[in-house]
Structures are given as C-alpha cells and as structure tokens.
Symmetry: C2
C-alpha cells in the first residue's frame, strides 16, 4: 500500500540556507528503490506563520520508506545538517 511521509520543519534561524539540505536529501532518494515521488524544499513565504521547509515522499510501501528512513546518509543529513538548525518539526504519515 502506498505510504506517504509528510514532514514540516521550522528552523531556529529563518534565514538558514537550506538548499544544501534539499540537494542532499534528493541525492539519497535517488539511491532508494520504491520511491514513487519525492519533493522537498523551502517555503515560499506566502502564508502567514508558515513553517520553513517540507518533505513529502510517497513510497511503494512501508519497507521502502524504512529503507529511506534508516539509510546511513539520510541519518547523517538529519544529524549534521538538520537537527542543529531545528526549532520544530511535525510529521504525518498516510497510507492509501
């Protein structure tokens, strides 16, 4: 069953240059099987109070998602590039 992983991020510094985060995530995704779609990037600043960055990935199933989630390079990006700049994060996961 397709699995959609939705994450929104708020940075401690709203001017944090998050382009390298997006590039690094896309590079990991390109190596994972079972990714149906994957978008990530910065908020465009249209909606008042918006968060700063989002990831939306749809995977063939939970196993494909788990491969992505646990990929060592993904964990490195989280630990070294995301967490140090993270003020808040929300996640929702859908199956449909």
């Amino acid at each position: 069953m397709p699995f959609t992983h939705i994450v929104t991020f708020k940075w401690t510094d709203e001017n944090f240059e998050d382009g390298p985060v997006a590039d690094a995530l896309q590079a990991v995704v390109a190596t994972v099987d079972g990714v149906q779609s994957y978008v990530c990037g910065p908020d465009i600043g249209l909606a008042p109070g918006s968060y700063d960055f989002a990831v939306v990935g749809t995977f063939d199933d939970r196993d494909s998602f788990t491969t992505y989630r646990d990929h060592p390079e993904h964990q490195r990006i989280i630990n070294e590039m995301i967490t140090p700049h993270l003020d808040a994060r929300t996640v929702v996961q859908l199956e449909s």
Copy 2:
C-alpha cells in the same frame, strides 16, 4: 509553476473522527480546476509524536490554489469542521 500546499494538523482530541473532514475536502477538490494531485487523511500512528492529519495538494499554479483556498465550501469546512477541533497546524508551500 506547480504549487504544492502542505498542511499538518493536530487535533485537540486525538480520537476526533476526521474521516468526514477528508471526505468533505475531497468533494471540494473535485470541483476545482488545476488540481494535479490531492491527498489528505489521518496519520497512521507509526512515528512517535506525529500530528493527526495532513493535506498535500499540488496545483497547476498559485491561481488554482487560490481558487481552492477561497472556495466557500472549503471555508465552511475550515470554520465548522476543522477549527473547532484544532490544537495546532503547520503549513509549508513549495513552488518547483
């Protein structure tokens, strides 16, 4: 340019029956032109601390999104079905 609208919701009562919200949103979306994809629904409860519900809609452009956002039935859903149960909400909007 495609416009992706990503919203996560946390309900005041995590047992809030949000199926009717998803159905009502899908019914509005079916009447709006320029919707490339639209998924919404409840979190499956896999990730610790996850929010409760999400919407991810990709529109042909900002105008299509605005038509959806400002649709009277969408506003009614927000005011009558969502806001009374809302503890927290995040939004991120991407263009790519």
